[in-house]
Symmetry: C2
DNA sequence: TTGAAAGCGCTAACAT
DNA sequence: ATGTTAGCGCTTTCAA
């Protein structure tokens, strides 16, 4: 098992040239069928495996894509990642993952590890800090280095690249109107992620829907989950509320708990609808009606878009694709009947 | 931005040799400080970035590690992955991820994508199907190709390599004895993963503890989560039960629900303790007492072990490290007082 | 049908 | 202090 048989080794053993071996193993018809077989057999018996790095250097294609996500413990991202992996593998690509942990610095460093030729393209979702500070020169760098890139979910609008997002605006609209249809009129919106693009879009969608419905919007922005209990309790004491839409999943679960602590029944007194269809939504009691973003599909679509771009199947201009959300009805909202 | 400046380009522009440029950029003192600066400046203005693939080919080191996990939607694995990413990044390594989706074939293919020189080492946890069918020639291949490997959590005992596991046996023992201390005597064990190594170990730990306590064990093996409701309901009707230990997290949540549907109060009538400290445990009602495996630490430890091996800091013989579990007390069990 | 040679981009031992 | 050369392992054009 002395390590790594190379073409050179095989050539020496077989007493032919390196190029003959290479051609034979690649089934090049230039080489006679007998020699091909002889060479293949020896290659096999020596457990020859072509060195992928050398191939990449030669071909200038690594068949791998770099993925940068803000967090992997957020279920949404791990679902997207699942979609990315499935689709990449299907198309013969590997994936290298970097986590930005929501930090600009880590995101920027991850980009540096990717623009040195180690990947053929990049899929990323913007870190919270980056969006807060509105930085994007590091993204521009990717463009400047001609590395194909697809942004998903949290995107930087200043950057010209392919994008895959969710119709967050419309999703929140739908959620709000859904509550209205089940009889709610005093609907509040809880937003713990107003500083990231999707949080803002969801808030806007809610406000828009409320205006459409001739109702007055009421938005609760919180920096921090700990504040939800206090803010919501206060609100419940000062205001009639019969519906709550939240910009994420966790807030919805918290909202349910807070409402119950204040003596309200869910969904009889108050209906709650959250964003993101994850485990929490499924296992909370009552189970949570949510706006699902089809995370897995987003991942797959991002890969398709990127690979089409890499393989030159796309039009020149960047495309922005929007995945439609869908309401998953569970028990935290009244039935539509 | 015509793509990719190379050393050659810089050499031409600067009218020096390629090696001079290379040395200058690597701060080689052979090169005079003035030339170094001049070269660095030009390199910068041309946005030169060394090609990582070429460097890898030359150095025979990719600074990346390959990770193969059975699933990413299982929170345990995404937590381990988080630990892996954090530790790798800290030590200057990238990670390539493949998912086996619990399938032998995909696992085997993933191994093939890794033994061609694209990674310096492999971290993996064995797919369910692989464990069921007791296959391991593909793992042996990794060894034969001299690729350093660390197995974590679900390991193949036939393969001689570094391993990081959880003391599943002891964890289940502790859980069982914990229930006993809170007053339970009729404790059953629900096992939906008896076909994978850790499931078996947990079952054995439970049985051992019961015997120690002079109680008679009662194990419910299920192939499928759907069966839990039926099996447990039946059991509850025929047998006095005051404690349930499960081999995973989800079964515990189901067990709670089934017990409640049958009119039992948790934890007053029945205490429930699960394995894996995830979201479900935190958000179930009542919140679930669990045996935590310190997933993140497992990931970090796996990386440390692998890199120490790669960098030649380990003894020759494979080491098997065991991470101790810990009981996280929540509300599905009676207090120890 | 086979082989020689160049080159992918880089590093480094060895001249100069 | 700088340059020449060889070579990492592979592919591929061109020559024999």
């Amino acid at each position: 098992m002395g390590s790594k048989t190379t073409l050179k080794d095989l050539a020496r053993i077989l007493e032919v040239s390196i190029s003959t071996v290479s051609k034979a193993l690649n089934d090049n018809p230039e080489i006679s069928i007998e020699t091909r077989n002889r060479i293949k057999q020896i290659a096999k018996s020596y457990k020859y495996v072509p060195n992928n790095i050398a191939q990449s250097l030669k071909s200038k294609s690594t068949k791998t894509i770099g993925v940068i996500i803000p967090a992997i413990l957020l279920e949404f991202f791990s679902k997207v990642l699942y979609g990315i992996e499935v689709e990449s593998t299907k198309r013969g690509y590997k994936i290298i993952i970097c986590l930005s942990n929501e930090l600009y610095k880590k995101e920027s460093e991850s980009i540096d590890t990717f623009i040195n030729g180690s990947v053929d393209g990049i899929i990323l979702s913007v870190a919270e800090e980056t969006q807060k500070k509105k930085k994007h020169s590091h993204f521009q760098k990717i463009i400047n280095y001609d590395v194909p890139m697809v942004m998903f979910d949290r995107v930087a609008k200043e950057i010209e690249c392919d994008k895959v997002t969710v119709d967050d605006f419309e999703g929140a609209q739908k959620a709000t109107k859904y509550l209205f249809k089940t009889g709610c009129e005093n609907i509040v919106f809880i937003n713990p992620i107003s500083n990231i693009s999707v949080g803002q879009l969801r808030e806007d969608g809610y406000i828009n829907a409320m205006q459409d419905l001739q109702l007055s919007p009421c938005v609760v922005n919180v920096d921090n989950y700990n504040l939800i209990e206090k803010e919501l309790t206060e609100l419940l004491q000062n205001k009639k509320i019969d519906g709550i839409v939240t910009a994420d999943e966790y807030s919805a679960v918290l909202a349910i708990n807070v409402a119950r602590l204040n003596g309200y029944k869910i969904p009889d007194d108050i209906s709650v609808i959250g964003f993101t269809n994850g485990l929490m939504a499924e296992y909370s009691i009552p189970s949570l009606t949510v706006v699902s973003q089809h995370a897995e599909n987003i991942g797959k679509l991002a890969v398709k878009t990127l690979l089409d771009r890499i393989e030159g199947k796309s039009r020149k201009e960047p495309v922005h694709q929007i995945v439609r959300t869908k309401i998953i009805e569970r028990n935290s909202t009244k039935k539509l009947n």
